[in-house]
Amino acid sequence: MHRALGWLAAVGLAGGLVMAFGVAPREITQGNVQRIMYLHVPTVLVAYLAFAVVLVASIAYLWHRSPAADRLAHASAEVGVLFTGLTIVAGAIWGKPTWGTWWTWDARLTSVAILFVMYLGYLLLRGMIEDRERAARYSAVLGIVAALDIPLVHFSVYWWRTLHQPPSLLKPGPATMSPEILAALLVNIVAFALLYVYFVVKRATILRREEDLPA
């Protein structure tokens, strides 16, 4: 099952690259640097998906105490942190030519950075507790509080950066979204989502096999 999922993700990513560099036109206002958006936007969307899965799995664990939910939360948090890191890197590289500095306290980048630190703390907490059952329980609570915090982080960072009314939450890149650009974006979003599922399934299986290891 892993193999099929893995190949599907690989095909998706290849398709995404073709769309991003081949099909999508050269953006008039920003030039080709805009193509980084086909990487930056999918990774941030998949990161949010990952943390939503962590929330649901954490609630499920506290409800049924099923180890499968705990493993899903753990795997999804780890992949989520990975994607958040990629989002920050892509955002910074995109920022350098566009704004002249690697890091700007741009509202979107800042809130993604806060998520990165929060869920890094989640993985740190898991690492600090030896007893597996207790680690699962505590991580579930943290997974819920962190997820509930995301909308608050979003609003507060946006108001903090933009003085008055909060702009639309995820206004990616170019003002006009020509069909080709939209298509390229969609293909990449699907591709990265497939990659996320593949990684989570693979990581969760490793967690299960680590648990079943005889003494």
């Binding site: 206002t29 030039g31 640097v33 890197v89 590289i93």
Partner: protein, 58 residues
């Protein structure tokens, strides 16, 4: 004509590829390690042992 900054575009995709590839390799290596350790343990468990070690099934 705005400059194209291809260098930045390629480096962004390059770093993403490297990071995702490294994570994928890490997962595969961990998978292989686990299958090897299971194959070590398997022969030992074949013949009867003194104190039964029942695998923990939560």
């Amino acid at each position: 004509m705005t400059a194209d900054h291809w260098g930045f575009v390629l480096s962004a995709y390059g770093i993403a590829a490297i990071v995702l590839g490294a994570y994928w390799r890490h997962l595969c290596r961990r998978d292989r390690e686990l299958t090897e350790r299971r194959s070590h343990a398997a022969p030992k468990a074949a013949h009867p042992r003194t104190n039964p070690v029942s695998p923990v099934q939560p």
